[in-house]
Point group: C2
Chain length 197, copies 2
DNA sequence: GAAAGTCGTTGATATATATCAATGCCATTC
DNA sequence: GAATGGCATTGATATATATCAACGACTTTC
C-alpha cells in the first residue's frame, strides 16, 4: 500500500514539538522507529485476545477501542482522532492478551511504534522519555476527570459536560458509541438529548 | 515536628529502585528535593479551592482524595498507602485551584515534592523522568481498568473484583469510603456484602 | 432497485440503585 | 459511666436507567 508519509510525519513532528524540543537529527532518528499504515473504516488494528504489539499515532481519521461483554454488547473505552495516541497499554507493556478491540471509526492513516522499538527509541533520544511522561500525565488527568464525572454525575450531566468539552466530536462519532462511552444505553442517550434540547 | 527521616527515605529509595537504577550520588540529589511531613488522621494535605503545590509520597499511613458535591456528600477519587503517590495532578500542573480535598485516612508520614522543585529535579537527575513516566503509565493503566469496570459492570461485580484485587484494604478503609470509591451508596454496599457472603 | 443492515427514536415495562428514616453498635470524650 | 458522634445495617419507597419491542429513515450491498 502506498502512503503519503510526508504529511503523516509532519503531524507527528507538530505534536512532538508541542511538548519537547528535538534537533533535526533527533527527529530523524525518532521517525525511523515508526511504520506507516492505512486502515479502512471498520478494520481492526487490534483484536481482543491478541497481544497489543504497537502504539498507534493517528495522523488522519479516527480509531476507537472497546471491550466486549458476555452478552455481545460493547463498552467504548477511548476515541483517538488526529494527533492522538491509541493502544491497549496494559497489553502493550505486559505482553498479555488484550481484552480490548481497536477499530477504525473512519478511514485512517497511522504511524505505528512497535513494542520492541520503544526502549531503543528512548535510549537513542532521551527527550522522548519526557514526551511520554507528559503524554501519560495529561492522559491520566483527563481520565481521572472522566472517572469523577462518571461516578459523581447523573447521565444527563455527563452528557452536557461531554458536549461542552468535546461537542465537536458529535459530528464524527455515531450516537450509540457516545452513549457507550458515557456509560448509558443508546435509548437513554436519545431521551436525554430530547430533554436537553 | 521531629520526624525519623531515615526510614522515610528508605521507603522512597526502595520504590525508586523498583523502577530505575540510580547512583549513590543521584539518589542523594533526589532526596534533597523532598521535605518530610507528618499528618494526623483527619488532617488535610490539600483543601478544595487551594492550589496543589506538592506531590506526596506516602512512607507510612494512608491518604485519600475526594471531591465534594453541592449536596455535601463526597466522591472518593483515590486512596494512597505506603509507597504510593498522591496529588491533584490537574491542579499541580496547571496551578489552578483544586476541586479535590486530600485527607489523612490514618496518621501519616509523607515526603513532599514541591511543584517548583520538579523541573530542577528532572534536569539534575534525568532518570527521574523515566521513573515518572513509568509511574504515570501504571497509574493510567490501572485507572482505565477501573473506568471499564465502573461503566461495564454492575455494583456487585465491581465489589467482588475490588475484593479480589484490593481486599486487604478493607481492613484499613471504612466501608462508606469504599462505597464511594466504587460509585454506590453505603446502604447499597452493605446490602451487596450481605448477598455475597 | 430491491434487500438487508445500521442507526436513532419512541413506548411500555422491569430492575438496579438511591433516598429517606430508624435502629443498634462502637469508640471517643468529658 | 453517661453522653455523643460516627458507622453499618435494615426496611420502605422513589427514581433513574436498562431492557424489550416496534418503527422509520438511511445507507450499503448485491
Amino acid at each position: 500500500m502506498q502512503v503519503n508519509t510526508y504529511a503523516m510525519f509532519s503531524e507527528l513532528e507538530k505534536n512532538l514539538g508541542q511538548h519537547i524540543a528535538l534537533t533535526a537529527d533527533e527527529l530523524d532518528r525518532v521517525k525511523r522507529h515508526f511504520v506507516p499504515k492505512k486502515l479502512r473504516r471498520k478494520q481492526l488494528l487490534l483484536e481482543q485476545g491478541d497481544v497489543c504489539t504497537r502504539m498507534a499515532f493517528v495522523t488522519k481519521g479516527a480509531l476507537f477501542s472497546y471491550s466486549t461483554t458476555e452478552k455481545g454488547s460493547i463498552n467504548v473505552v477511548q476515541f483517538a482522532f488526529e494527533s492522538w495516541w491509541m493502544a491497549d497499554l496494559y497489553s502493550f507493556f505486559t505482553q498479555e492478551p488484550s481484552k480490548l478491540t481497536i477499530e477504525a471509526l473512519e478511514d485512517c492513516e497511522l504511524l505505528l511504534l512497535k513494542a520492541d522499538r520503544l526502549e531503543p527509541l528512548l535510549v537513542e533520544v532521551p527527550a522522548m522519555e519526557s514526551y511520554l511522561r507528559i503524554l501519560y500525565q495529561n492522559a491520566y488527568v483527563a481520565l481521572q476527570r472522566r472517572m469523577e464525572e462518571t461516578i459523581g454525575l447523573a447521565a444527563e450531566q455527563r452528557y452536557t459536560r461531554f458536549m461542552e468539552r468535546d461537542g465537536h466530536l458529535l459530528l464524527r462519532v455515531p450516537q450509540h458509541l457516545i452513549a457507550s462511552y458515557l456509560g448509558v444505553t443508546p435509548e437513554t442517550l436519545s431521551r436525554i438529548r430530547k430533554q436537553v434540547s
